[in-house]
């Protein structure tokens, strides 16, 4: 009887907070749906470029073979750019327009006809190990298939593939993982920390006395933002410093730029947390909402898998996530050695989202106790 009474009481209590209950119960379903949407269907294709320095018939056959291979779903790459010189192809990879470039050398057609040795180059961006290895394998496979076909028609020739890497030679696990660690540290942690801040004031009733003073919702939101920013900022610098100077994680770009972008996502996470705080009625709800808000970021921002590999539909979601812009910029600076200016668009998006979160929070915070 005692046990039933307790069970009954707890179930009742759970049902009395439907918002939290729905979040808890729907979470697995929504995660699964999001996961399937992002990873289940055909993934996005990786953009590559081709520089045809030869221009002969065989070179065009190779290009159409590459096109067919990607169209048949053999590979998930897509030729999005045609370059006319080696340098141009190299630049397109370096700038991040494409992840790989194929260089068909001058005299390619002739060499094949004569059965000589030919050198086809693949320029690879190795800053994302997952992508570069995948696309490299696919390209080599396609070209080997092509070699067989051509050999049947025109007789044998030697087909050499050489590889040029940018941002390489290769990125170690710890180097690649710094961005992910910083994401948890600068997104989830501050967001959930500040998310309970206003609901805690409501729960402890200190809110009622606080809003009896002539302050505005702007004061409350900015006060909380700055207080939490000061406290969590130290943590940011400490972690970055530790990673770079003690554990010697590789940073190609400037440490200052890295710090600035870390700082920007920190403010953005706090703003997002404040919005959650304004929307939630109690602390439990706020925590749930913060975790809930982190799920899409984890799945679609490039946190687990580069966002480029996601299905095109889900990429729209990616582009709404502040973490997507952060991870992109952070990796570009850390691994590719880019500057903040090279990532201007992403940084503006990050700042823009921060402003939207803050303004919405200020607008929605009602100085009432209802």
């Amino acid at each position: 009887m005692i046990l039933t009474a307790l069970i009954y009481k707890d179930i009742k209590q759970l049902l009395r907070d439907p918002k939290t209950l729905v979040m808890v119960l729907l979470m697995p379903v929504i995660v699964l749906v999001m996961f399937v949407a992002g990873y289940g269907g055909p993934g996005g294709s990786i953009p590559i470029s081709v520089a045809n320095l030869d221009g002969g018939s065989i070179s065009w056959q190779l290009i159409s073979e590459l096109k067919r291979a990607s169209a048949m779903g053999l590979g998930s790459f897509e030729i999005v750019k045609t370059a006319y010189t080696f340098e141009e192809a190299y630049e397109s990879v370096r700038k991040g327009e494409v992840y790989a470039a194929i260089i068909i050398p001058k005299g390619f057609t002739e060499e094949v006809f004569l059965g000589e040795e030919t050198q086809v180059g693949i320029i690879l961006d190795t800053s994302y190990a997952d992508i570069s290895e995948g696309v490299y394998r696919l390209l080599v496979l396609t070209m080997q298939g092509f070699q067989q076909k051509v050999t049947e028609k025109y007789g044998g020739f030697t087909f050499n593939i050489y590889r040029v890497t940018i941002y390489g030679p290769e990125v170690s696990k710890i180097d690649a993982f710094l961005g992910v660690v910083m994401s948890v540290l600068l997104h989830l942690v501050p967001m959930s920390l500040i998310a309970v801040s206003i609901s805690r004031e409501r729960e402890r009733r200190t809110f009622e006395q606080l809003i009896m003073t002539p302050i505005s919702s702007y004061d409350i939101i900015m006060g909380k933002l700055l207080a939490y920013m000061i406290v969590t900022m130290a943590d940011t610098f400490l972690t970055l410093g530790l990673a770079v100077y003690v554990f010697k994680v590789r940073v190609v770009g400037s440490f200052l730029d890295l710090t600035i972008v870390s700082f920007l996502i920190l403010i953005c996470s706090l703003s997002m947390g404040l919005l959650i705080s304004v929307l939630s009625k109690n602390q439990l709800q706020a925590y749930q909402m913060a975790i809930f808000a982190f799920i899409p970021s984890m799945l679609f921002s490039g946190f687990l898998v580069p966002a480029e590999l996601l299905s095109p539909k889900v990429k729209i979601v990616s582009k709404l996530l502040p973490l997507y812009y952060f991870l992109k910029t952070f990796r570009n600076i850390q691994i590719r050695g880019w500057t903040l200016y090279d990532n201007l668009f992403d940084i503006l998006m990050l700042i823009g989202e921060t402003i939207v979160f803050l303004l919405t929070a200020i607008k929605l915070l009602k100085l009432r106790v209802e």
């Binding site: 009733r205 200190t206 006395q209 809003i211 009896m212 003073t213 002539p214």
Partner: protein, 314 residues
């Protein structure tokens, strides 16, 4: 923007779902008075107060504080109004002094002024020796004093205290009322809610609230007279037969008559005991009735309240 009233409450209504917490309530609280909102728990006192302070939005009606509309110009109202909520609402993880400093600064004092004001309040409310204690570690009475200090930090013209004496021991209750009277002397208008009827006698004027409605308003004396239709006088007589009282000036009704041997105890309703008692005794004595004792019966507000509520129920 000046007004003769400190607070004007006009047709105020608040509905929560299907429940009418406050039902078409109108009140006028004069400047410089101690006004009591009296009623049982759940009568709608706190809801009314929260609407006066703009903490919740009225479903209908409006409130003006010193002529300033609360809904439109809440900030102006807050600058002249102090509020002590029913339950402790300060930061338990800050010390007494830190809480006070915070509020002094939020009300716009600069650092030096704030320090001075806090020092003053610590002394005035006997909190000086506890100033470094965390608010969470204070006893109930000390918490109440701190809450009152915060309500007074910006020297408000109007102070609203919600159940300041609930769960407070008698010496502190007395202290609070003494303090309120003192504040009132300095020109501060005070609105106090309570469900302790005996305390309400301290108020200049009262409103009785019951189920969200005002069932009476006036001075404690007026309310009692309203409840019973006048004052009650008890007269002990020595007489063989009940005397005639009807027709004597001021006598409205004989409520009770009790015979014990040769004495009769009468409870008589009169319009005004203080002016009529002597003339009634004189008339009885001139009719040859010996009056042993005659006095006004003290009516508590509680009796008046119960009587008025019964009247409402009918």
């Amino acid at each position: 923007m000046s007004s003769e009233y400190a607070v004007e409450i006009v047709n105020l209504t608040k509905v929560f779902g299907k429940f009418k917490a406050v039902n078409n309530l109108s009140l006028k609280i004069r400047k410089g008075e101690i006004f009591g909102l009296l009623g049982p728990n759940g009568a709608g006192k706190t809801t009314t107060i929260r609407m006066v302070l703009g903490l919740i939005k009225p479903t209908k009606g409006y409130v003006r504080v010193f002529g300033i509309p609360v809904e439109k110009e809440r900030k102006k109202v807050l600058k002249i109004t102090g509020y002590m909520p029913q339950r402790f609402s300060l930061y338990e993880d800050l010390t007494v002094e830190e809480n006070l400093m915070l509020y002094a600064l939020l009300y716009g004092y600069n650092g030096r002024e704030a320090k001075e004001r806090v020092k003053e309040l610590l002394e005035e409310l006997l909190l000086k020796e506890f100033k470094d204690r965390l608010a969470g570690n204070l006893s109930g009475g000390m918490k109440q004093r701190l809450a009152l200090a915060v309500a007074l930090v910006h020297r408000p013209k109007l102070v609203i205290v919600d159940e300041p004496t609930a769960g407070v021991d008698p010496p502190l209750r007395r202290y609070f009322w003494k303090y309120f009277k003192e504040l009132n002397k300095r020109g501060v208008t005070i609105i106090v809610t309570t469900h302790y009827m005996d305390e309400a006698e301290n108020c200049d004027r009262l409103a009785l609230i019951f189920r969200g409605r005002k069932i009476a308003e006036g001075t404690p004396l007026e309310i009692k007279r309203l409840a019973f239709g006048g004052d009650i006088v008890e007269i002990l007589l020595e007489t063989p037969s009940p005397p005639k009282l009807e027709g004597i000036g001021g006598v409205k009704k004989i409520l009770e008559s009790e015979r014990y041997n040769r004495t009769i105890t009468l409870r008589v309703l009169v319009d005004d005991a203080s002016s009529r008692l002597i003339s009634i005794v004189k008339r009885l004595e001139s009719n040859g009735v010996r009056v042993i004792r005659a006095s006004q019966v003290y009516i508590g507000l509680e009796d008046a309240f119960i009587k008025l509520v019964e009247g409402q129920a009918k």
